[in-house]
Subunit: 275 residues, 2 copies
Amino acid sequence: MTYCVGLCLEEGLVFLADTRTNAGVDQVGTFRKMALFQKEGDRFFALMSAGNLAITQAVKEILLQGNLLNGNNLWNATNTHEAAVVVGDAIKQVYDRDFKALQKAGIDFNCNLIFGGQVQGEKPRLFNIYSAGNFIEATPETCYFQIGESKYGKPILDRVVNFKTPLNLATKCALISMDSTLNSNISVGLPLDLFVYERDQFKSDKVVTIDETNPYFSMIHEVWGEKLRNAFMDIPEPNWNGSRRGKTIISTAKRLGPVPIHRAKLKSGQNKKTK
Amino acid sequence: MTYCVGLCLEEGLVFLADTRTNAGVDQVGTFRKMALFQKEGDRFFALMSAGNLAITQAVKEILLQGNLLNGNNLWNATNTHEAAVVVGDAIKQVYDRDFKALQKAGIDFNCNLIFGGQVQGEKPRLFNIYSAGNFIEATPETCYFQIGESKYGKPILDRVVNFKTPLNLATKCALISMDSTLNSNISVGLPLDLFVYERDQFKSDKVVTIDETNPYFSMIHEVWGEKLRNAFMDIPEPNWNGSRRGKTIISTAKRLGPVPIHRAKLKSGQNKKTK
């Protein structure tokens, strides 16, 4: 599997992808799921992919070749939305080529992409592009997308990040979200590709590949678990005996009675015995 | 959907279930997913269910009726493992009755249970019972099971709980795990049924139904988010400029070079222009 997260914030964009792929547990590999496209001073795009690796590599190849799809490619698209249409069209081209054969083999056409960036004259934008080539765009209300094994790392994003979050803080959050996923699911693995895009830069100062030797990520991996355990220990335990110490957990719910307890039916003879 | 978590620890067992069911987003209901079975002084069992509600209710009905399945029911099983076989046999009975009709309707036979408890003379035991009626048992190395929407609430369990964790602390952890799930997935909802079983008690002192008015759960809901944000803010941000402040994130990975940046190919004319 895969875990990728992309954030679209006031100050810019954050892209983080793992690199583990697998076809069953006995065929595990390392493949890049992030691709970067730059025309300095004019545009910068990042693409992250989940799903069938043969499909996502084929899509990436079409984009790299720069062939025109309905007259456009990533280099001449007038804005990021138009560039997302190009990516969607690349998916449709792979679909047309491979779908029938995949269907015969009983394999889903599975392709889920996060694509974003900035074109001169526009703000940074972020899209989640589906298997059919259609897509949705992140907004200030919902400013991040996840693909792949998204659930483990969602709670921390939901609790910490919003559109106004500074870029470096959001980067930390993305890395913690990834660390939680790595800890709970072995189908997601190091190294990671991280790209932080500062609005209006049209270049890539902050691109780094992170493995177990990375000082910052190692710190997160060690310290976050510890901080989490400390935060956990800081919360009082449930109070079952009605004493004043701590909040009581004994309380009647408004709409629902207690769970019924089903008791063994004793035979009349047994009933007598116990009298 | 559903989220249920069951823990089997040195001191006893913890069972926590939500009560939201849905068949599509426009058919959301409240149904109990926990059932308790007691023969005082002799045995206590708890059952939690995820999957198709018609199937899991049918299984529960068979268990409540107490009919013998291959000679056994929950009341005469000699140990918890044998009781788990009874539960598995109840699933098989529902399968025999309904599978063909479900198949015709294109509906999976989907049933996933957590079942546990204690019979006099044995330690507490916990099982995860599958649709086929087969099951696995929790051990000191893997002391919890989750069913339903399990991923959101897994990281905190993985980080905090082990077999030696005191019962009340594990209860707190289960509630935090549930709170994370409730926050990130609307298919899981209040009220919750909580049952904490202390080893060798064979009764149910600690059974409570929790809704938004429960003082302890409300405190968890408010305070955990805050503690998590504080823990998050406590971790230094990535250092990109190589200064001494904080751990640097700029570091070369051992096995993998940086992500390549694909640059726009300029036509020779353009190249000349930029010279």
